[in-house]
Structures are given as structure tokens and as C-alpha cells.
Symmetry: C2
Subunit: 221 residues, 2 copies
DNA sequence: CGGAACATTGACGATAATCAAAGCGAGTGG
DNA sequence: CCACTCGCTTTGATTATCGTCAATGTTCCG
């Protein structure tokens, strides 16, 4: 069952987006079937940091504790379709299809690897490398779910969103995107991102797909 | 069985510390019983980012995939004692003591929360707040394992290590530590850290212990 | 006592943030 | 169909935070 309960993307910037709070009664194991979302936290001063991109196939609640009003939010970054797995179905799955339970655990590792890689990126790469790295990661993840069409793919993030992923200001994000464009590496227009020279982009980013592969090998098999 | 295989802390800065590589044959589920370690990654340019502090009781391998030469290292930050759980013992535990398996899963959530919080810190807090926040987190975690003595605790990290945790340079880290000292919030001397005014430090850091509690409630029970 | 790691200081430079304004473009209503 | 909005992107000027380089102290330990 896929619900379109978040179909309309809401507008204003700070904390006013359509939000599903962890622990909301209506959310037993949501899985994204279409569109992008993000895990994020809003700080006192109103600034926002995104620390997870949820693409189709990703589980919103994965690492969260069901019965805790977790301190982070899930926000929609595009129109979104979500499927719910009921708790009882879930228990049944775990009993009758242990393989799936294993896959889930692999998936958790996958998510953890991404978190770690983001820390490395934000902590030690400059704005340009960081931007490039994120693009490489997203492209790679989209490739896994067949959402890359040739050398381009849908990229619904606004530059403000992207800034909150990268830990930068929107203005600086804009400038670095332009640098990437002027270097002939990408074009980004109309919510669509094209990578013209993947290997050069990956080299610039210091992107090493190995950090994602282990989880993937298991996920795919 | 506790081995002292990493007892001597080695010296030089880059990648030359005593290191246990993920996937090393000798490491089936190591658990730290004394001392501190860290997960980290070294980049091309030689810079290092730490993305996880391992305190007594923490599992080195937790989120790693056993049969993958993971792209990150574990380094000792002090002399270290480690206990190993053999794979077969592990399987037995999972069968005969499901509660422990559950606890482990809670622990994974705990680790994930910390990773997320680090991203928020590095991405959106300035150097001073970030430093304060890390101190609050560490203090809190040490409190859980009864390693806080009054208002002070052992803090074996070098300022270089701390810089690699915070995503700063050693010089800047030094300056921010001095700011914290001059504000009368902490003293740090001889591998021992004293927090003089916890609530003020937490306010400065924007520290909200809620983000760690959910996992903890389960862990303790 | 000597040496090495670690901590601290100062001067200077680079990267990123801030502030403010202007341009663009898709969707809306007249 | 055009003009109007509103959200989003782009630009420029300026400032702040943090990084770099290099030297000097300090502590710890054999």
C-alpha cells in the first residue's frame, strides 16, 4: 500500500516543511517508494543540518528508536510516496524470512558507512570536494536502484537543501556548484543533474566507492 | 579473556599508530575493556578524520562488515585492553540470550545517534560550541560507565587527536580550549578534564542529552 | 640531563559566512 | 496572453572564522 500523504511539498524554509516526527502514531516502519526525503535537525539559532538522504527504497525509521520522541525530524525534499509495513507484518517477516532480517542489518551498515563518510567529508574536505563527493555518493546510490539515465538523474534538492546537507551556506554552495559547472564536470538545471566526467569528478572528490560496496554486495545478493 | 595486545601507545602522527585493521584475521568481535580508541579515516593529503570514539564497553567492529576490508581504521588513543568474543560464542549468545542481541541492536542505535550528532556539530556549530559539545557528550558517556569522578574524568586525547575529532586544526583547537578555560568552564591538564560548570557548558554547546537517552534506557535495563 | 612529543603563541592568508540586492522562471490570476 | 508573484538562483562587497607557517615553551620520560 503506497500512500501519497506527503504529495504536496510545502514551502517555507525553517521547520515548516511537511514533517513526520519520529514516534508519530501513524508511522510504523515507513518505506519510501518514490521521491526524496531527509533526516535533519534544527538548531536553536534556526539553522538546519541534514544528516541523511532517504532515497526510494530507504526506510525512514531505520536507526530510530520507535518509542522515543527522537530529536530529529524527517522532511520531504520532493513530493513523496511512502509505504508502511505494519508492526505485526514486520514481526512475521522476521520470523518467516530471516534472509530479509539479515538484509536489513546489512542495510543498517550501509547507512552507518554513509554517516561516517559524511563526517569525513564535512570535517576534512573543502567545500568544492565536499560538494563533488556528495554528488558522487548520490549518483552511486541512484545507480543501485536504476534511477540513473545515462549520465544524468533527477536531483530534486534546492540549493538551500544542498547547503544543509553540506554544512555550508546557500550562497557558498551556489558558488561551488558554479565552479563545478565551469570546470565542465556537471550541469544542474531543472531538478536534473548531469555528470559529464564521472572519473574526474570522483578524483576531485576523493570518492572511493569501496566504502559503500560491502553493504551493497550483500544487499543485492 | 582480556588481552593487552595494544598496551604500548605508539607515537608518530600519521597512520603509524598501533592499528587494528578491519578484517584482520585476529579480530573476531573485539570489545574494549579499558582505554580509548577511535574509528578514523586518512585522506589522500594525509589529513585524518576521526568519526567515532570507542570507550570502555564499546565494540570495535560494531557497524562493520566482517568480511570486507573496510576503508576505515581503528586506532588506539591510549593504552588499551581489549576482550575478544569468538564467532561461535557469539552465535551461541544470539541463540541462548536473545536479550543480549536486543541490547546490541539498541547499542547500534546509540552509535548511530552519536554519528548523526557529530554531523550536526561539525556542519553547523562553530569551533567553540563544537568543542564544548564533544566534551559534554564524552562526559555523559563516561558517566554511564561510572568513569566520572566528581566533576572530572580521564581524558587521554592529545590536542591533535581532538582536532581530528572536531574537524579543526590543532592550533585552532588549542585556542578554543583556552577560551573554554578562560571562561572558567573547564580545566584540562595532564590527561584529566574537569568541568567546572556543566550546565553553562551544556548551554554553550547546545547539548541536549535526549538524543542519547532513548538508546540508554534500553541499554541499562 | 637530554630529547621527543605535546602545547602555546604570533603573524599572516585562505576559505567560508554574512548582508543586501538583483535576476530568473515556473505557475497564477486577471 | 500578459503581468505578477513567489521561490529560487546569482552576484558583489565585506567580514569572520578558521587554517597555515614557524617559532618558542613546556612536560614527560628514559
Amino acid at each position: 500500500m503506497a500512500l501519497d500523504f506527503l504529495s504536496a511539498r510545502s514551502r517555507s524554509y525553517q521547520a515548516k516543511r511537511h514533517v513526520v516526527r519520529h514516534g508519530d502514531p501513524l508511522s510504523p516502519f515507513p518505506i519510501i517508494t518514490d521521491g526524496w526525503a531527509a533526516r535533519c535537525q534544527i538548531l536553536r539559532d534556526g539553522s538546519r543540518q541534514i544528516f541523511g538522504l532517504l532515497l526510494p527504497g530507504d526506510m525512514c525509521h531505520f536507526n530510530a528508536n520507535p518509542h522515543a520522541q527522537s530529536t530529529h525530524d524527517i522532511v520531504a525534499l520532493s513530493s513523496l510516496q511512502v509505504a508502511f509495513i505494519e508492526q505485526r507484518d514486520w514481526r512475521e517477516i522476521k520470523l518467516n524470512a530471516p534472509d530479509i532480517a539479515v538484509a536489513i542489518r546489512r542495510y543498517a551498515n550501509f547507512e552507518s558507512s554513509i554517516l561516517s563518510a559524511w563526517i569525513v567529508s564535512i570535517g576534512r574536505r573543502n567545500a568544492l570536494e565536499r560538494t563533488a563527493h556528495l554528488i558522487c555518493e548520490v549518483r552511486f546510490r541512484l545507480e543501485l536502484i536504476n534511477q540513473v539515465d545515462g549520465d544524468s538523474f533527477a536531483f530534486p534538492l534546492t540549493q538551500d537543501d544542498l547547503a544543509d546537507v553540506l554544512g555550508l551556506t546557500p550562497v557558498h554552495t551556489n558558488r561551488k556548484l558554479q565552479d563545478l559547472r565551469q570546470a565542465g564536470l556537471i550541469t544542474l538545471h531543472g531538478k536534473r543533474l548531469t555528470v559529464h566526467d564521472l572519473s574526474r569528478l570522483e578524483r576531485l572528490a576523493g570518492f572511493d566507492r569501496e566504502y559503500l560496496l560491502p553493504g551493497v554486495r550483500e544487499l543485492v545478493s
